[in-house]
């Protein structure tokens, strides 16, 4: 199992006859970026509060009251946010990983 990362946001590749869609890469490497890991029950209102408390900004989901779970379908569906045009797709890992390995 490899962690799924959404790498880059300008990866439209020209070929002779067509333009391929944005590719989703499986990166098997150290990722030198800040990240958060969440249990399945964390909802967006908790995620935003927590990440804000770390002095960071995250591209996340939107719902009234932030009641939707943040460790589920939104990120696995690509992580499309109102901020995506300027900040890219959601980049939270879709599953829990060991940070010390």
């Amino acid at each position: 199992m490899h962690p799924l990362f959404l790498k880059g946001r300008h990866r439209i590749r020209r070929t002779r006859v067509s333009i391929e869609p944005i590719s989703v890469d499986l990166i098997n490497a150290h990722i030198l970026v800040p990240a958060v890991t969440f249990g399945a029950g964390i909802q967006w209102y908790e995620a935003y509060d927590y990440i804000d408390g770390q002095g960071r900004f995250v591209v996340g989901g939107l719902s009234q009251g932030g009641s939707v779970g943040s460790a589920g379908g939104w990120v696995m569906g690509g992580g499309h946010s109102a901020f995506s045009p300027s900040l890219g797709l959601g980049k939270i890992l879709p599953s829990r990983r060991n940070p010390n390995n």
């Binding site: 490899h2 970026v33 890992l93 390995n101």
Partner: protein, 204 residues
């Protein structure tokens, strides 16, 4: 009705006269003779960190003789009926009330209406009658194993937002992930199993 007809039509067109293949083993549903006994649920409970859940439909407290139930009280339900977080906090609430209901093939509706003055009894609908409040990996392991052994309809609910209604399931066995609330910030994250000789400079 039209939908049913179209589905049937499509089915007939696709498969001709071939009979549908029967399920080899249907799930064991609440009320079936195969449904686990109190003693079996009790022995499952011994493996769990929390008591077993008995999820109730959102409007259930409006039908209770007492003013207070585990699901809250009626005035609270009336005030917060459309509140997403209120619904997320109740294992028997879906985000969309239609998914709490069940429609029998003959058209009868099994539901628990917010308006108790309709004089229609509060019914369980599609809300599983029993479930597990998962707080750690061992809870999930025991619950999934139990569901597998007893051939139960395993239903996973987190907040209940699923727009196909999969956070509920009539006569099923609910696995509630709502209280898996651990969160960790990693200043420099390393995925499990990643080789140390490769790096990828991400954005900061």
């Amino acid at each position: 009705m039209l939908n049913k007809y179209l589905t049937l039509l499509l089915f007939s067109t696709t498969l001709g006269n071939a009979a549908p293949k029967p399920h080899t083993q249907c799930r064991c549903i609440y009320g079936d003779p195969c449904w686990p006994t109190e003693a079996e649920f009790s022995s499952l409970s011994n493996l769990l960190s929390q008591p077993l859940l008995h999820p109730l439909p959102t409007a259930y407290p409006c039908y209770s003789s007492s003013s207070s139930t585990p699901a809250g009280n009626c005035s609270e339900v009336q005030a917060l009926y459309t509140d997403g977080n209120f619904r997320a906090d109740n294992p028997g609430s879906m985000q969309n009330a239609n998914f709490e209901t069940y429609l029998f093939p003959n058209g009868t509706i099994d539901a628990c209406y917010l308006n108790a003055t309709l004089n229609i009894p509060c019914k369980q609908g599609s809300i599983p009658p029993i479930g597990v409040d998962i707080r750690k990996a061992e809870d999930a392991q025991a619950a999934v194993k139990f569901a597998n052994e007893k051939n139960l309809r395993l239903v996973i609910k987190n907040t209940g937002h699923d727009y196909l209604g999969r956070s509920a399931g009539r006569g099923g066995f609910l696995h509630w992930t709502h209280h898996l609330k651990d969160k960790v910030f990693h200043a420099s994250f390393v995925p499990q199993g990643a080789p140390s000789n490769q790096t990828y400079e991400g954005e900061h």
